[in-house]
């Protein structure tokens, strides 16, 4: 394989004066008296080799040097030490639409931005109508200062798309903008992949890295921490976050009385948080709760516990206030689940009240979903399955009383939340007269028709008429499908059909 990018012991230092700006007077003064020089090492002795056609995710905490690395590879910054070799043309897309002039027209801006990206005037003239069409902007004769930020983003992307490069450096651009725009970004990304372009992707969306990248690079404090298969890198990164937080919290709270019960509760709460944090708009407030977010072994005294619940409540309230209807429902469900697990100390709190009342009316805990397992043909549980192989979903329940003819159901959704299928026991005429204690209900799929992708699963237990839920876990579970033996068909399912010539 050809090497596309080769970094050899690259170091990038940023130095600035602690007190004042760079001025001549300052330099003159410093001849006599040296001022304190602050040096920050953004990249520290980084060596790296990337082959042509690789899709590389770059992950790490804020300020770990991700963007600096992209800038160095893209030739915007030059390294302080070490050598950088880049074979082919790079296209750094760090921030879309930086070059736009607010007071100029749409057309002028297309020409300006396009030529800065390296497109010739002729190309731009030829592609002008296409670019405008693609951006979906209709008001073509106004200044772009009247455009919304989303429109500008779409416009910039439509122009940047026209540039043909060998190496693409993408900084968070797949995760900005509205849903429609993201889809367009994604199609673009898939096309690049198909064409065998080399892509460096910086993003905070870890699931995107795990899903789309072959390989990931984990940076921390400018150093290369690990380099390898993307999903194992994501796991490693999560453990680093947790460790860093632990250190921080250790500093803040010097406590060491162990309380076993709490540690269990907190580990569950942490999962709750993780789910909550998956919401993009809540991600930016994650910093405030991070120190409290894996207190498992740390919060062991009352003070800290109080602090933790206070923070959690504040976060939930914040999220709830800022959420739309769909998200409110999600939060409610999270809290409901947490309540069921008896994780919250109940207090006078408006949002909590709503949720608590809701949950009391909605849920009757006669029967609970204890666990859901996904098993492959060998009966081993996991969450990665192959197209065409058999798979079974086991619902492990626990009944507190005798429950008459309960209805078990699952629903499988694709990554865009479209329902694919929703089988339940009543529909299949498989019902047992009454259920006691605990047991297992299994849904067996002989040959998995789903193609490559991630899928979410809801599991529910309703009464026999399907009107009252006993327990309902909405999209709480998920699995991943890979295609091994068959050629990729594209889409979601393999219909197992045949073509016939006559």
């Amino acid at each position: 394989m050809n090497v596309a990018i080769k970094l050899n012991a690259v170091t990038k230092n940023f130095s600035f004066y602690a007190k004042s700006e760079n001025t001549l007077f300052h330099s003159f003064k410093s001849i006599f008296k040296r001022d304190k020089h602050v040096v920050i090492s953004a990249i520290d002795r980084l060596s790296l080799e990337i082959n042509t056609g690789e899709i590389i995710g770059i992950i790490g905490p804020n300020g770990c040097g991700k963007t600096t690395l992209l800038k160095i590879v893209g030739g915007i910054l030059s390294p302080t030490k070490g050598t950088v070799k880049v074979m082919g043309k790079t296209l750094p897309l760090l921030e879309l639409g930086t070059a736009f002039q607010e007071s100029l027209s749409l057309k002028d801006n297309i020409f300006l931005y396009g030529s800065i990206l390296g497109l010739s005037t002729e190309t731009l003239k030829k592609r002008l109508t296409y670019i405008i069409d693609f951006s979906g902007i209709r008001q073509t004769d106004t200044n772009i200062k009247n455009f919304s930020s989303g429109m500008k983003l779409r416009l910039a992307f439509s122009i940047a798309k026209e540039v043909d490069a060998d190496i693409y450096l993408l900084d968070e651009i797949l995760t900005v903008g509205d849903e429609g725009f993201q889809k367009k970004c994604f199609v673009f990304f898939e096309n690049l992949k198909r064409q065998g372009k080399t892509i460096l992707l910086v993003t905070h969306d870890l699931s995107l890295v795990a899903r789309e990248c072959d390989r990931a690079i984990l940076l921390d404090n400018g150093k290369l921490v690990a380099d390898g298969e993307s999903s194992s890198m994501v796991k490693k990164y999560l453990s680093i976050i947790i460790n860093n937080d632990l250190k921080l919290v250790k500093k803040q709270l010097r406590v060491n009385k162990p309380v076993k019960e709490l540690s269990l509760a907190f580990s569950k709460l942490r999962m709750l948080f993780e789910q909550l944090l998956m919401f993009k708009q809540f991600r930016n407030i994650s910093n405030t709760i991070l120190p409290f977010y894996n207190l498992e072994t740390l919060i062991k005294n009352r003070e800290a516990k109080k602090l933790f619940f206070g923070e959690l409540r504040a976060l939930l309230n914040f999220c709830y206030e800022h959420a739309d209807e769909k998200e409110k429902l999600f939060i409610k469900n999270l809290v409901k689940n947490a309540l069921q697990e008896e994780l919250f100390p109940l207090e006078n709190n408006e949002m909590m009240k709503i949720v608590v009342e809701d949950s009391k009316t909605v849920f009757d805990k006669e029967i609970k979903i204890k666990k859901v397992l996904f098993k492959d043909e060998m009966g081993v549980d996991g969450n990665v399955f192959e197209t065409g192989k058999s798979m079974s979903i086991e619902i492990i329940y626990q009944a507190l009383k005798d429950v008459k003819r309960p209805m078990f159901g699952i629903a499988i959704f694709d990554s865009t939340d479209h329902l694919i299928t929703g089988p339940n026991t009543t529909f299949y005429n498989v019902t047992s007269e009454s259920i006691k204690n605990s047991g297992v209900v299994t849904y067996v799929i002989k040959s998995l028709p789903l193609l490559k992708g991630t899928y979410k699963v809801s599991v529910s237990i309703y009464d026999e008429l399907g009107s009252k839920p006993f327990d309902y876990h909405e999209k709480k579970y998920g699995f991943k499908v890979v295609e091994k033996d068959i050629k990729s068909l594209g889409g979601i399912i393999n219909m197992d059909g045949r073509w016939i010539y006559k």
Binding site: F14, E21, N22, T23, L24, F25, S27, K71, G74, G75, I76, L77, S78, T90, P92, L94, E95, T98, A99, Q101, S103, L104, D108, F111, L112, G114, S115, I116, L117, G118, L119, S120, T121, E122, L124
Partner: protein, 253 residues
């Protein structure tokens, strides 16, 4: 980036510069003419009417000096400012940074050329003879352009490092206006200082241009040689300095 793409980029940046410059102003380009004309009027009143300087065709004499000086000062100041206004671009995008400076200088040069047309129009109106020697003008225009571009590149690169360059340069421009033969002739300079006075390349260019345009005077080979060398040298030094410094622009600006 290939040559034609670089050319496209400079063209687009220049057009954008023009559009931004004259946006929202009723008179547009005419401000670029009005300023030197108002200066001309002021200086003419002071020096011709009050101080009674006796130089033939004094308004035209004055105007060519003012226009040339105007090109130098506007070109350099606009270049330095363009580094500020394109800060975000320099920090976040990959493109040949010098095209910003080149386009600023080209924009000032275009204004200079249009102003020169007005100068010739004025010559016709005032019924001043246009001599054959005026054919050397394009040569001096190229020299001037290289000089201004070289200076602009040098100053802009320095500005990224030291933000007070703009203040110091403004002072130099004020000083330079009076130690260049714009309002007066070199005859007024005491002979013992003349050697030092003529170290100023712009002084040589203005004297020679004026001679060719107004006095039917062909510049000496020695003068042509000196001004050419200085212009090329300024350009090369400015360009190399800019190129060398440009590696740090993204982090320092």
């Amino acid at each position: 980036m290939g040559f034609s793409n670089r050319f496209s980029l400079i063209k687009q940046l220049t057009i954008t510069g023009f559009k931004l410059r004259y946006r929202g102003s009723v008179l547009g380009y005419f401000w670029s003419l009005l300023n030197p004309l108002l200066l001309l009027l002021t200086l003419y009143i002071v020096f011709a009417l009050f101080m009674k300087i006796n130089i033939p065709n004094y308004p035209l004499y004055l105007l060519i000096g003012i226009l040339t000086w105007n090109f130098l000062s506007e070109g350099t100041v606009m270049s330095i400012n363009s580094m500020v206004s394109n800060r975000e671009l320099i920090r976040k995008m990959k493109f040949p940074t010098q095209s910003i400076i080149i386009s600023s200088c080209v924009a000032s040069f275009v204004v200079f050329l249009i102003n020169l047309l007005i100068f010739f129009l004025l010559m016709v109106i005032l019924k001043v003879n246009i001599y054959f020697t005026a054919v050397v003008l394009p040569f001096y225009l190229i020299e001037l352009f290289m000089l201004v571009l070289g200076l602009s590149l040098f100053l802009s690169a320095l500005y990224v490092r030291y933000k007070d360059v703009i203040h110091i340069w403004n002072f130099f421009l004020l000083l330079g206006f009076w130690i260049t033969p714009i309002v007066y002739s070199t005859d007024l300079v005491p002979f013992e200082y003349l050697r030092f006075y003529m170290l100023n390349p712009l002084a040589r260019i203005i004297v020679d241009m004026r001679g060719a345009l107004l006095d039917n005077f062909i510049p000496t080979l020695k003068n042509i040689f000196i001004t050419t060398i200085i212009s090329i040298l300024t350009f090369v030094v400015g360009y190399v300095f800019f190129k060398k410094s440009s590696k740090r622009f993204a982090e320092e600006i």
